[in-house]
Every structure is written in structure tokens, then in C-alpha cells.
Symmetry: C2
Subunit: 384 residues, 2 copies
């Protein structure tokens, strides 16, 4: 196989654009100097647009999980009752962190592959007025579901004082988020998905309502104490040493978003979802999510007539094309294709073309070109 | 459109692999020091394999044209009679350089889109014993023809003392070359095609027979005097300052070739040609070359029912996919797709998928997916 060639279509990390790679190679500068402050000044308003908020978006150096932990420890206390809407593995991540802090977690389990139902949660929260916070993923990476987090927030706020806390890691930057308009209280996302950066940086914002709770919280830890991040970002700096290369890259990503136009970025992701879904239907590949619930950033398939893992091995060994397998209970049952960040409709045509060959090889009876043609048709209709 | 995204499928320059980009970013070193000598030592035997020669392959810093000029001024004198086999624009380049040196050029014109006929040239050379050298392109980039240069050399040598001088710029590294076995006398190629590097470096080798002629030549110019390059490469150095970054990149390219295996590199190019040709046939796109003459590195189409330039504009504006147009007399008449160097079968599926959409847009009545399916079928048969 062609040396040094890969097609990375897992739901994160995603490929990094050359301009961002170049930006990340800039020489180090002092992180307490003017140049860094100016860079943060440039970044701030652009990050707000991605979040759809007037609040400053804070940046925490760490894995996505540190961002989720920050979203928890700042707003709830040991003994507090919270509701975690579990639509997959990453909803469960919230539960595990809460348990580590002796938080009284109740899980609202949703069948894997389905989005949450805001009305059901509204009823549950209304019946349990002691719930202090409701946690949900925006895109559930492990299933490919996009949860209606705006409707969730409106449903919860209509009947409760509970804060609504959203993990937007695997879709923000690829899917529109209107934090303020929707009434989301804490929103956190990471750098390695639709933001097209390596992992290592979290972005997090809190509503006015959330800040009141955070300020009243006596035990917020040290590294993840959001008031430090808020006070520092207000002065165009960070409380702890930032991952400078990632900031260089972020500055470039946000400039690239602006060049393309955020509305076009979101439309591109919708188009890639629609192309992928149409192709999989044409190839008789059972989608793990409904058209309504499917995320613009990741699509899952639960095959019935071939082995998902054999298929993944085949595309990897023949084309160095990587897609993800199932996690936890879904292990070996599904495969998941990431179509986000530095990914264009022509990349969708490319992975579909390769997958069709691999489907034949793993014994599925398909018509070559049928998936590609369905995706092309969607492109032509969408782009008309 | 996705910012900072492009699909470069012109017949050179070609995309550069990430490992090669990284190699080219190494810090400068002294070009007369040990490190450079060691690098040249590493490069030498690997370049010989690509050329299929026991001779040292010399490296000239310059555009491809400087390599062609070196191939001329070292072996022929003002007033000498030479035969240029003109199968396209780059055959003509030989003529223009010869004319600048008052060399008596005779052109052997071959219909564009067709390969040269060794027997016809044998007859011509036999009838013109004063011909000192025969020039030909290996792959004629402007038409997508691969000339049978081995047969040409055998035909010429059977009846004449003329040297056979080959421009291998747009295929070597993607197509097997057996310089010694075939009896080629001077072979020159450049860095920006199947070698996957930026332009700026030429590789050139001469046969024992050619060296006798070169040594006897009293006027070889200065910068392009090949004896200087020969004497220096024997000592693992260069006569003039080398383009060091390109050497760093070349070292990596040759290592990548070795990892893949040169026979696999060549098989990959054959496969990409066959996939592309099968797809174009399925889409009713008239190929400009026959199956026998078509190059593994570039494929040309001469459309009859749509405008080649409108099609090129469409794929560029919709997908940032670049293919080349026609040159000289073929301007506006053909388009040319490069499938060489850092290009995989999945890239072929990708450009075909994009082209099918564009064909619909420029008004050609095709069945979506039909070209992709034909290419996939070739892949499955070739890879079985």
C-alpha cells in the first residue's frame, strides 16, 4: 500500500488541515506575554459564535474528560441529586465522574441509537424536584445520535431549577449550538473532533444561572475551578500554562471557520450526513439511528448479514481507511463513520467507494457504485 | 467550501506525503559537511534502482527544463543533426532547446495521442546515418501517452550510432525504467511528478556510450556540464549548492518507495490507470490514448458532447479538484488527470465520484456511480 497514506474517518480525532498543522508549528512564545494575550483576544469572540453565547468561553488544557469533570464539580456537591440522560457510552461517562464525587446520580436510560425525549425528561424532573442538574450529550459519539438539547433545556427549565449541562464534544463546530437562546447552562466541548485539532484542549461556557451556582459552591477543586478560568479569560489569559501549540492551531481553525462561514460549515456537515445515510440505505446497511436522530458528524451502522469487525479490518488493511467499532455493549455490533471537521463531500464519496469494495470482500451482495450514486444524488439535490 | 482543502490531480506537481513534508522541514545543514555526504550516499543506490542503471544518477538543482538542456548540451554540438520524436508538447521542448544551440533538428511528428512506432524510427534513422541523437519523451505529459522507449532504443541501436535520450519527467518513479537493459543513453527526470516532491531537482544518468560522447564534447557550458556532476557524485557531493530541503525530501521519498516496494509502486500506478480508463469508458468519455499507449501516470480525455474547460471549471469550483487542460494545439480540447506519486486507488474513486457529479452539471447524460463501479470492478479483479 502507498506509504504514509491514511483515511482517518473515526469520530475523532479527525484529520488536521495543513494550515492548522503549520500554525501549530510556530515557535513557542511566552504564555504570559502580549502575543499570547492578543491571540486569546482574537480567539474569544470567535469561540462565542460557535457556542452561541455572550459569555466568555473558557479554555482548559486537558482531555475531554477533564472538561466533563469541570462541568460537574463546579456546579454540584457531594450528596446532590443529579439526572444523567444516558443515550450511550459518553452519557455514562458523566455518571462515573459523579460517582467518584459521591454525587447521587440517577440515570435516565434511553435505548442506544435513539435520541432522548424531552417530554419524558420534563415529566421525570417535575416529579423529582430535588434534581439539581440534568446532564446530556449533544452528539452521543458512541451511537451517532444527536440529542435535541435545546428542547431538553426548555422542558427542564419549564418545571425545575435544575441546571442543564451539555457535553458537546463530538459535534460542536460541526453542528449549530445556540447556548443562550436554548437556555443551556454549562456547555463543554473538546478540540479533537469537529474543531479539527489534536486532543488536549477543552472549551467550556456557563450561563448566568450556572455562575450563581458555581460562585456559591465552596468546593470546586483547584485545577478545574472555573472561576479562575473566568477571571483569567476576562483578562485575555489563562490560570495555568496553556497548551500553546493547540492555541496556535485553534486561532487558525477559527479563522478557517470564518472563511468558510459558520452557516456553511454546518450545512456541509448536514450534507455529509445526508449523503452517508442515503448511501448506506442504498447499500442495505441498517442505520443504527433514525433520520431524525442521526448526527451530522457521525453515522453508525448495525450490520445483520456480515461481521462489523471483519468489515473494519478489511477497509483498514486494503485502504488504510479507519472507522470506529462499537463501544461497551455495542462492541462488535456496529461500526461508526466520522464525517466531521476537515472532511468534505468528496471525502464521503471516497470512503463510500472504498467501503463498497470491502462489502463485496466480506461477502455482502451489493451493487458496486450504488451507495456512491445515492450520495451523489443527495449532493446534486442539496447543492442545486 | 471547506477551507484549506484541495484535490490536486494535475499531472504534476502532485501532492506531497506528510512524511516528506516533515523531512523537508529539517533545519539547514552544511552542504559540504559529512551529514550531506551521508545523505547522498543513502540516496545514490536507491536512485539507481528507480533508473534501472549501474551508473551514478546525478542531481541538478533546477526546473525540469534545465535537466533537458543538460541532456542536450552535453552530447550534441552546434551543427549536429538530431531527431526529435514529437509526440506532444514536451517532445517539442527538446526541439526548442536544440534550436537555441543551433543544432540541426529534424522532428519526427507522431499524431498527438499516439505513441511512437519504433520501427518507423528505425527506418528513418537507418536512412539518415548523420543523426547523432534521438530524443523522445517516456511519458508525454501533454497527451498521456507512454512511449515504448526500450523498443525505441533497441531499434535505433540496431542500425545507428545515435544516442537515445529520454525525458522521463512525468512517469519515472511511477513506471518501471530499465535504463541499462533497454540501452537508453541519457535519461532525465524531475522531482515534481511521481517523485512526490516540489519542483527544483533533476535526476540524470548517462550510459557508458554517452559518457564517451560527453567527454569528447569541448563545449558543455558551465552549470550543466555533466562531468562536474559525475565527478562530484562519485565523491558523494554536488558541484554547486544543492537544494538541501529537496534532498531531505528525496531521501524520505526513496525510503517510502522502499517500504512500499518499487514493484508495488509500479503495480499501483498500473491499477490506477486501469481503474481510471475503465471508469471513463463506462461514462462514455472518449479516451485520447489507446489502452496500449495510455500512461500509468496521466489519462487524457477528449470530450465530444461537453466543453472540457467548463467541466474543469465545475470540478474546481465545486470540489477544488484540479485536473489539467490541453496545451498548445490541444488547448480547450482535452482534459488530463494525473494519478501518480502520492495517489492511491481510493483517490481515484474520489475524483471519479466528484467528476460524475460535475458531468451531470455540465449537461452530460450519465448514470451516477457508473464510472466508480467500473473502477471498483477493476480494483476487485486486480487485487484478487
Amino acid at each position: 500500500m502507498l506509504t504514509d497514506y491514511q483515511l482517518l474517518r473515526i469520530p475523532g480525532p479527525t484529520p488536521i488541515p495543513p494550515s492548522v498543522e503549520r500554525a501549530m508549528m510556530k515557535p513557542m512564545i511566552g504564555h504570559r506575554g502580549n502575543e499570547t494575550s492578543q491571540m486569546i483576544q482574537t480567539i474569544k469572540p470567535k469561540l462565542k459564535k460557535v457556542f452561541g453565547t455572550a459569555q466568555d468561553v473558557m479554555m482548559i488544557t486537558g482531555s475531554g474528560t477533564s472538561g466533563l469533570e469541570a462541568a460537574i464539580v463546579n456546579v454540584v456537591h457531594p450528596g446532590d441529586k443529579v439526572l444523567v440522560v444516558a443515550t450511550g457510552v459518553f452519557g455514562n461517562r458523566f455518571t462515573k465522574i459523579c460517582e467518584a464525587y459521591q454525587i447521587n446520580v440517577e440515570e435516565f436510560a434511553v435505548e442506544y441509537g435513539k435520541a432522548l425525549d424531552p417530554e419524558a425528561i420534563r415529566a421525570h424532573v417535575q416529579a423529582n424536584p430535588d434534581i439539581k442538574a440534568v446532564f446530556s450529550t449533544y452528539c452521543e459519539t458512541s451511537t451517532g445520535v444527536l440529542n435535541p438539547v435545546g428542547e431538553l433545556a426548555q422542558a427542564v427549565h419549564a418545571v425545575s431549577e435544575a441546571l442543564v449541562i451539555i457535553d458537546g464534544v463530538s459535534c460542536m463546530g460541526g453542528v449549530e449550538t445556540k447556548m443562550d437562546e436554548w437556555g443551556l447552562d454549562v456547555v463543554v466541548t473538546g478540540s479533537q473532533k469537529a474543531f479539527m485539532l489534536p486532543a488536549g484542549l477543552n472549551f467550556i461556557a456557563a450561563s448566568e444561572r450556572a455562575w450563581k451556582v458555581i460562585e456559591a459552591n465552596p468546593q470546586k477543586g483547584f485545577y478545574l475551578n472555573l472561576t479562575k478560568y473566568r477571571d483569567n479569560i476576562a483578562k485575555d489569559t489563562t490560570p495555568f500554562t496553556p497548551a500553546l501549540s493547540l492555541l496556535f492551531g485553534l486561532e487558525q481553525v477559527l479563522e478557517n471557520f470564518e472563511k468558510e462561514g459558520l452557516e456553511n460549515v454546518y450545512a456541509r456537515h448536514q450534507l455529509m450526513r445526508d449523503m452517508t445515510r442515503a448511501a448506506f440505505k442504498a447499500l442495505d446497511l441498517p442505520l443504527f439511528t433514525s433520520d431524525q436522530d442521526g448526527s451530522p458528524t457521525v453515522t453508525s451502522v448495525k450490520p445483520t448479514d456480515f461481521d462489523a469487525e471483519a468489515f473494519r479490518k478489511e477497509i483498514k488493511s486494503s485502504f488504510n481507511l479507519s472507522v470506529a467499532g462499537g463501544q461497551a455493549e455495542m462492541k462488535g455490533q456496529i461500526f461508526r463513520v466520522g464525517h466531521m471537521g476537515y472532511c468534505a463531500p468528496t471525502d464521503v464519496l471516497q470512503y463510500l467507494g472504498a467501503m463498497e469494495i470491502a462489502l463485496i470482500k466480506v461477502g455482502k451482495n451489493i451493487k458496486l457504485g450504488a451507495g456512491v450514486a445515492a450520495a451523489q444524488q443527495v449532493y446534486l439535490e442539496g447543492a442545486k
